[in-house]
Amino acid sequence: MNPVNAIELIDITKTFGGIPANNKVCLQVRWGEILALLGENGSGKTTLMNILAGIYFPDSGKVLVNGSEVTILSPKDAYDLGIGMIHQHFKLVDNMTAAENIILGLKGKGRLDMKAISAKVREIGEKYGFSINPDKKIYDMSVSEKQTVEIIKVLYRGARILILDEPTAVLTTQETDRLFQVLKNMRDDGKSIIIITHKLQEVLAVSDRVAVLRKGEYVGTVDTRDATAQSLTEMMVGRAVSLNIERPEPVNSVPRLVVKSITSYNDEGYKILDNVSFTAYGGEILGIAGISGCGQKELLEGIAGIYPVTPDSSIEYYPDDSGKPTELVGKRPMQIRKLGVALSFVPEDRLGMGLVGSMDITDNMMLRSYLKGKLGFTDRKPPRKLAENVIEQLNVVTPGVTTPVSKLSGGNVQKVLVGREIASAPKVLMTAYAVRGLDINTSYTIYSLLNEQKKAGVAVIYVGEDLDVLLELCDRILVLCGGKVSGIVDARTATKEQIGLMMTSLGGEAKK
């Protein structure tokens, strides 16, 4: 292979509506290396990679591939130059097979020879250590299998430079390890790989060099062996940040939410929650772990009264004065509130469920309280006040209270949502993937907000995917496996491996 760089970016600038996403960014990627691209939300990583992949065209600057200046106008141009990008959201046709998806959009002879295509797909898989069944339909596939299809899709097109945008966000620990082995195999084959991720442990584990962006500008590139989580964070944020998550001891734990054998069926009649029971105590953080799609979402939505649960399920809420518990099953969110149940819920889908993207911050604050106005009118004064408070207390970066929340960055969107849910003084606070896609700084803000609630005696339920964080932040962890409780462990003594096993098999017994 040539000694020159696979990719060299010189002074790339790209603005969106006058706001620079990339400002004179320079970057070099060598052949045969894994380069991690690191940066907080809104630092311009994805924009920069989309420029390489032909999705955006830069306002100015040069792109050099293998030493020659090129113009990339479309994803096809990128493929022709050997650049392939695996996006965060998969772009696959559900009712086609893996092989059909892989050749989709490629030119070929009039008659398709699916056998030869499948053979070639298998060959690529074997070469780098993937396991793939080319004839399997996408809708039958797990998230990790779909990702494999996406990677083979770009390899099939002859990509020698692969860009992966947050590939591990949806994977379990074991799947992540497998992916990293594949990436290393490809690197050893001389390919160059750019990986965007927020998780520092992964950066340190897999990459050769790390390039850092901050607020659209290039900060620098370091060799991974010289870097630590602490040094990378400082480069990213621009100042020293503590990476320890606080975990105060629970005090005065009283049962707040007693869940007894929740069972729920999804639209297809498939049992998505099977006899789930647990108790959440005030003053503790209860973590919920599990591979994606094994009932976490339905569990929280079931408690919140959004997702139907069977009538013989029971969810009891215990008010402060140790009086009679309130039964929540069969009630809608508004009825639950009217009964005086202080239950707040930060859902996984922030803009699609927790907030209304096109509405401004004030109107989003009003979602919970719009019926409080008189004579059928809305009263925007209290929500406006609340919006101003949340912006000030949580340092929400926004031009003002009248900015639509969809225009805010991911971290600020989450601050608005969490701020609103905390403002109603909850006794039970449920959060689903509260830090997904957020940068380190904002993630730590969210952890400390949750800890504040815990110290105030709130029962916090934290559904998370990062086991390191779950083990550091939570007091107890409930592990779900296929809609059943695989076990509840003490987060102070449990190990990552133990939880990983419990996630994949009930009770954590190793499969034969």
Partner: protein, 369 residues
């Protein structure tokens, strides 16, 4: 310099979203669009062998200069505005109600029943009130059918409301040729003209419906912007999941809103038969229900902007009628002319939102301070 890596060139024109545009500049663009549309239309007029200046002059004078012309223009603008107002809450909820035409007719049929067969039994004010109520209820019920199906079973409202139009159109034809046929009319089957007591009184030459429609415009603005219902409509329209998350009763909101939308359309039907045509014909809705969709979109669902746009479209419509008679310009050519003007008006919104970057043009530098 290194050798070229691939032979691609930067595209000649690129499109980029504008950060912001000053209102002054936006209006400059709009005025430029109007001038360009008049010039393009002028070429068409010259091709037809007429003087563009006199044709444009007659369009304006024909729709605005005399009292008769003004009344005729207003009679177009009022139902158009009413239909657009009825569409506003439905579209805000992203319920694509294109059944306004049919809901107008449903209201018109219900009002006509009382006008034709009950006028002897009721004093005039009561008769008009009953006609009004019947039209409102009939329009609302006609819209309710697709709304219930959408709310409970998630059917496609666009197709459903469209199909409902054809049903009611054929009901009118049936009534005209069958049970409601005027026995004293010979030849072409017609429905009888309304008795005087079933006709709306006029105010300044136009039936008093215009006062009510203007009142509805103000009401709709307040309803959508400041009421709890309006807020619910907006939330359901943007994200049904969010609405359910906070516990809104989504089916009830859909059904309630679409009933109101149909009820206002039904009211428009009453105004047309009782204030303007004094009878029911196949043409009673006259395409108002469809043109109102254009009005609603151009106004970005803002009721006040709908006033300006429906008046503008009414001027175009009346003006094109005038030039047809004055210059013997065929109706189709007059419609092409209206189309050209609308095309430029809509097209200029694109240039207000986006700008073009030409190859080799200087790229804007970004500064941070």
């Amino acid at each position: 310099m290194s050798k070229p890596g691939n032979d691609k060139k930067v595209p000649f024109i690129r499109i980029a979203k504008r950060a912001d545009i000053s209102p002054g500049k936006a209006w400059m663009l709009r005025i430029a669009a109007i001038i360009l549309s008049l010039m393009t239309g002028g070429i068409l007029i010259i091709a037809l062998g007429h003087n563009p200046f006199s044709v444009y002059r007659d369009m304006i004078t024909g729709s605005l200069s005399t009292r008769t012309a003004l009344i005729a223009t207003a009679k177009i603008a009022v139902p158009l505005l009413g239909a657009a107002i009825s569409i506003a809450p439905a579209f805000r909820m992203k319920f694509w109600n294109i059944g306004t035409e049919g809901q107008i007719l449903a209201g018109a049929i219900a009002a006509s029943y009382f006008a034709l067969f009950q006028y002897k039994n009721l004093p005039r004010p009561a008769l008009l009130l009953v006609m009004f109520m019947a039209a409102v209820i009939a329009g609302g019920l006609w819209a309710l059918i697709p709304a219930i199906f959408k709310a409970l079973w998630g059917t496609n409202e666009t197709l459903f409301t469209l199909m409902m139009n054809y049903i009611v159109m054929n009901i009118v034809t049936y009534l005209r040729t069958g049970p409601w046929k005027n026995p004293s009319s010979s030849g072409f089957p017609k429905i009888a003209m309304f008795d005087d007591s079933a006709r709306l009184p006029n105010l300044f030459g136009v039936h008093i419906g215009w006062v009510i429609i203007l009142g509805m415009t103000v009401f709709m603005h307040i309803y959508m912007k400041y009421s709890q219902h309006g807020y619910e409509i907006a939330v359901v329209g943007e994200s049904e999941k969010t609405a359910r998350y906070v516990g809104m009763n989504v089916p009830v909101i859909i059904i309630r809103t679409i009933f109101m939308s149909g009820a206002i359309a039904g009211m428009v039907g009453f105004f047309i038969v009782s204030g303007s045509s004094y009878t029911l014909t196949d043409n009673t809705a006259g395409g108002y229900g469809f043109t109102a969709i254009t009005v609603a979109w151009l106004a970005k669902l803002n009721p006040y902007a709908m006033i300006i746009i429906s008046v503008f479209l009414a001027i175009l419509k009346k003006g094109s009628n005038t030039i047809q008679t004055n210059f013997k310009i065929p109706a189709s050519a007059a419609e092409v002319l209206t189309g050209i003007i609308l095309f430029f008006m809509l097209g200029c919104e694109f240039f207000i939102n986006y700008r073009l970057i030409f190859r080799n043009s200087k790229v804007v530098e970004v500064h941070h301070d």
